[in-house]
């Protein structure tokens, strides 16, 4: 057999192991599939919960689309109109905002627990890579959606983020140094953040990113169904439960509780009340930039290090993190679950500290109130 044929055979075998389509039948998925029961079983519900919040995002996003105007002159006014005059507009918008935060929170916890449980071990590598890609895409959803209301914090925070991309050019050699500038202009659609930027972010947020996510999500869910839940712990679990109906029933109850949680939050607490009101006034290109411009809370893990550390260091950190995230199944192939759990706790500690206490640390180190 020639090398070319051998390579092709290996590729087909690899794909067959990763996507065992012979298991795609009623017997396997409904009658035979079992879920291990152990101390980490709660983590099996996080993926479904993320999916639930994503569905809420899609439904509320469609409702918002009926009224939202993606132009710099009308975007803010249309958001005001939705909030003040559209029937239940305030509730729908608030539900969209709260569920986006809940989705990101669940997704991050899902990724960390999946990592700690070594659920990326063969033959589940592609499930991990798909999930990691969706994590990155979800942050892209957050980034693009943040600009759409076209208020002070949205436009100014986007400017800061785009400026960071451009700054990375200073640390790149030769012709590569011009790439970030080109990237910035490509994202921005011009020399400044304006109508072209809003149009691009709108298209990305409501068409391009959802289409990509739907594709990856379908593959992710199909793979999970074909392979079943990973063992998750070192010793073989003594107990298992049927995926259908017991796990699905519990999943449904968790979704019900999650729905009630975000319903109460959306009715009672406007998400914007956590920020100072001048940040939500219409963006004025000629006016002064209000205090307290920051990205959304789920970007604090990069925002505060950017404020505290040299830019090049954070940039290297981000590139390394992104690479490790995508190559996790191969990098940690031989790492024990115990070690993975320690790393997962360290990541959790970092995320919690930077998100909850980043401003306090910044104040202590630099004496600046963020």
């Amino acid at each position: 057999m020639s090398d070319k044929k051998k390579g092709l055979k290996r590729l087909v075998e690899f794909m067959y192991d990763r996507l065992p389509m012979h298991k795609f039948n009623f017997e396997h998925i409904v009658l035979e599939k079992e879920v291990p029961v152990h101390r980490m079983s709660w983590a099996y519900y996080l993926g479904g919960l993320t999916l639930f919040f994503f569905m809420v995002q899609v439904v509320t996003g469609i409702f918002l689309l009926f009224y939202y105007q993606p132009t710099v002159s009308d975007a803010h006014a249309s958001i005001e109109y939705i909030t003040k005059y559209v029937n239940n507009g305030f509730f729908i918008r608030n539900l969209h905002t709260w569920s986006s935060s809940c989705m990101i929170l669940c997704l991050v916890v899902h990724a960390i627990t999946t990592f700690a449980m070594k659920a990326f071990a063969p033959p589940r590598e592609m499930i991990w890579v798909g999930g990691a890609a969706m994590l990155i895409l979800t942050f892209a959803f957050g980034f693009t959606g943040y600009l759409l209301p076209w208020h002070q914090i949205a436009v100014n925070a986007t400017k800061v983020m785009l400026q960071s991309i451009e700054e990375s050019g200073h640390y790149l050699p030769g012709f590569l140094s011009g790439v970030p500038h080109y990237m910035r202009e490509l994202i921005q659609g011009g020399s400044v953040v304006g109508q072209a930027t809003l149009s691009r972010f709108f298209a990305l947020h409501v068409v391009i990113l959802p289409l990509i996510v739907f594709g990856i999500l379908a593959m992710h869910l199909l793979s999970v169904q074909l392979h079943g839940m990973s063992q998750g712990v070192d010793t073989l679990p003594k107990k298992t439960e049927k995926f259908f109906p017991f796990f699905i029933l519990k999943d449904l109850i968790v979704w019900g509780v999650a729905f009630l949680g975000i319903f109460i939050l959306a009715v009672c607490v406007p998400f914007e009340s956590f920020y100072a009101f001048p940040l939500f006034q219409a963006y004025n290109a000629l006016g002064a930039t209000p205090e307290g411009i920051k990205p959304e809370w789920y970007f604090y893990f990069t925002y505060y290090p950017l404020e505290l550390l040299p830019f090049w260091l954070v940039m290297i950190g981000m590139i390394v993190t992104g690479t490790v995230l995508l190559l996790t199944p191969w990098i940690f192939k031989n790492t024990s679950r115990r070690m993975l759990t320690i790393i997962a706790w360290a990541i959790t500690a970092y995320l919690v500290i930077t998100t909850l206490f980043g401003n306090v640390i910044l104040e202590l180190v630099k004496g600046v109130k963020s």
Binding site: E27, V30, L31, T83, F90, F244, P245, I248, L249, L252, I253, W255, G256, F259, L260, F263, I264, V267, C268, V269, P270, E272, S273, F274, A276, F277, P278, L279, Q281, N284, G287, A288, P290, E291, G292
Partner: protein, 190 residues
């Protein structure tokens, strides 16, 4: 040219009268710990000085007359100052212009002099409290989150209870449909 001319004219005419009050802003910013801006009381977020339509330099003849009247406002009057928003006018008409200027040295007294029941945005948090909290008295969706949660929960408790009941019923119904389906499939595939 017209803009420059009107800016110069307004500066000459109103330089003695234009009274931006950074003391108030600085005081409530410090007390509340929230970055606020002039739009808490003024029509324009940048404050009263300037040539935009709601700023001193951009006022029409009639509005300038109203501004003059507002500068003589006494407690209990019902005067509309064109550079102030609804809340700014409420402060002006409750306290009076002279007292307000006097309180520049002690802005902490302003909330004490305001009505304890007035709530311009009808969200349940009185205006004086919003001033102390550094939140927008004219935006019903702005307020300290915990306060808004308590008020909105009490206001919407019936809808919340109905939704809880509907969700429980829905989940209960779906669960039993799944259980029924599971029993049927087991029977079919035995």
């Amino acid at each position: 040219m017209r803009i420059v001319f009107s800016l110069l004219l307004s500066t000459c005419l109103f330089s003695s009268m234009a009274m931006a009050h950074p003391e108030y802003l600085q005081y409530f910013k410090k007390e509340s710990g929230r970055p606020i801006n002039c739009s808490m009381c003024h029509m324009d977020p940048e404050g009263p000085e300037g040539i935009k339509p709601d700023q001193i330099g951009g006022l029409s003849k009639e509005e300038k007359k109203m501004l003059e009247l507002a500068r003589k406002a006494r407690p209990g009057d019902n005067i509309t100052n064109p550079i102030l928003n609804l809340f700014g006018n409420e402060i002006l008409n409750t306290i009076g212009h002279d007292k307000l200027v006097e309180l520049e040295k002690d802005p902490g007294e302003i909330p004490k002099l305001l009505s304890k029941t007035s709530d311009l945005d009808h969200n349940g948090i009185p205006d004086y409290q919003k001033l102390l909290d550094g939140t927008d008295p004219l935006n019903p969706n702005d307020g300290l989150p915990w306060k808004l949660f308590k008020i909105n929960f009490m206001k919407n408790w019936f809808q919340i209870m109905m939704t809880v009941l509907a969700t429980i019923s829905g989940v209960f119904g779906l669960c039993y449909t799944i259980i029924w389906f599971s029993i049927r499939t087991k029977k079919e595939f035995k």
